[in-house]
């Protein structure tokens, strides 16, 4: 019997970091803004070792100013995309500039330099990723998904989905379903 898992990524990551730090006996505070405040001086190689352990878990200590800013932009975008309320994309530039306290021009420039893509493209990518997750979970209709992600219609969602992935949502769903079925067959046949 195959069960579908839903992950609370924030909670999982926080827990992992807490375990790592507790194992090392470091005095720290984990702030809600993804910031880690270490209340003691750490020698460089210690920090390196901590980072290596975290990297194995998929967590990374971001240290260059630009990378930190980019990560904050990504986090802000994720919050926007994950909000179930209507998100007003036309005001995204104002929103980001306001909460990150930089001009949008500076934010855009830095973001593109580090990620090779634009903020606008990244937002679309994240929305489509969410659409894919919802399609894979199989509980919502395309209409419901389009509504949740603040598309004006299913046609609009389909268009952006196709532009981003090369697939229509229908075809994507078909492939994912078939892959799942193949997986079930493989498990049954073992």
């Amino acid at each position: 019997m195959i069960y579908y898992l839903k992950y609370d990524v924030q909670a999982i990551c926080k827990r992992l970091v807490q375990e790592q730090l507790q194992n090392l006996g470091i005095n720290y505070s984990l702030l809600n803004t993804n910031e880690l405040d270490i209340n003691q001086a750490l020698p460089n190689d210690f920090l390196h070792a901590l980072n290596s352990n975290l990297v194995k878990l998929g967590i990374e200590i971001v240290s260059s100013q630009k990378s930190i800013l980019v990560q904050k932009i990504k986090d802000a975008i994720m919050e926007l995309v994950n909000q179930e309320d209507k998100l007003i994309l036309s005001k995204t530039s104002h929103y980001l500039a306001k909460i990150l306290n930089h001009s949008y021009r500076y934010l855009s420039g830095t973001f593109s330099e580090i990620t090779y893509t634009t903020i606008e493209n990244y937002i679309i990518l994240q929305k489509i990723e969410k659409a894919k997750d919802m399609i894979t979970a199989g509980e919502l209709t395309f209409t419901e998904i389009a509504w949740k992600l603040n598309y004006s219609s299913v046609a609009h969602l389909s268009m952006q989905f196709k532009n981003t992935t090369g697939f229509t949502p229908t075809l994507f769903k078909k492939i994912i379903t078939q892959k799942k079925n193949n997986l079930i067959l493989d498990t049954v046949n073992k």
Partner: protein, 149 residues
């Protein structure tokens, strides 16, 4: 702590001209890359299984190769744990629906039809690299990583 990495690309293609064109397409791209090539499926699997090989970020795999086809390699690669974060791009002249379906069902991430012109290839490669980089840096779900170009 990690500066922008150089993206490592590997191509498996039995056609010498295709390999040359491919390397050329990367030369003037604004994203830093290193490109390696192998001539067939057997050489590919040997290279990937070699302990000293640094696993590339992206593998471009021609479907029609003698001795061991791209599809056979794909199936084998999906079973190897250390290759689980390798982005698999099927790079083929074929546009048959069966080939396309087969490659995605067998775990490929990207299906790219070989374009006739170098300029189109450059543009497409840039697009793939950009998207792929987001998968490597933003923790996106690789299970849903499907791209058809």
């Amino acid at each position: 702590m990690i500066k922008n990495e150089i993206i490592r690309i590997l191509l498996a293609d039995d056609d010498k001209d295709d390999r040359t064109d491919f390397i050329e397409a990367f030369e003037t791209l604004k994203i830093a890359t290193t490109v390696e090539t192998v001539k067939n499926g057997i050489e590919l699997m040997k290279y990937l299984n070699e302990p000293s090989t640094i696993i590339p970020h992206l593998l471009f795999l021609d479907l029609n190769m003698p001795k061991k086809s791209g599809l056979e390699c794909l199936v084998e690669i999906k079973k190897i744990k250390k290759l689980k974060n390798l982005t698999l791009v099927i790079y083929s002249t074929s546009s048959s629906e069966k080939d396309i379906d087969d490659t995605f069902l067998n775990g490929a991430n990207v299906y790219l039809k070989k374009p006739a012109h170098l300029i189109v290839l450059k543009k497409t490669l840039l697009h793939i690299l950009t998207i792929d980089w987001q998968y490597h840096t933003s923790g996106l779900n690789r299970e849903n990583y499907l791209l058809h170009l």
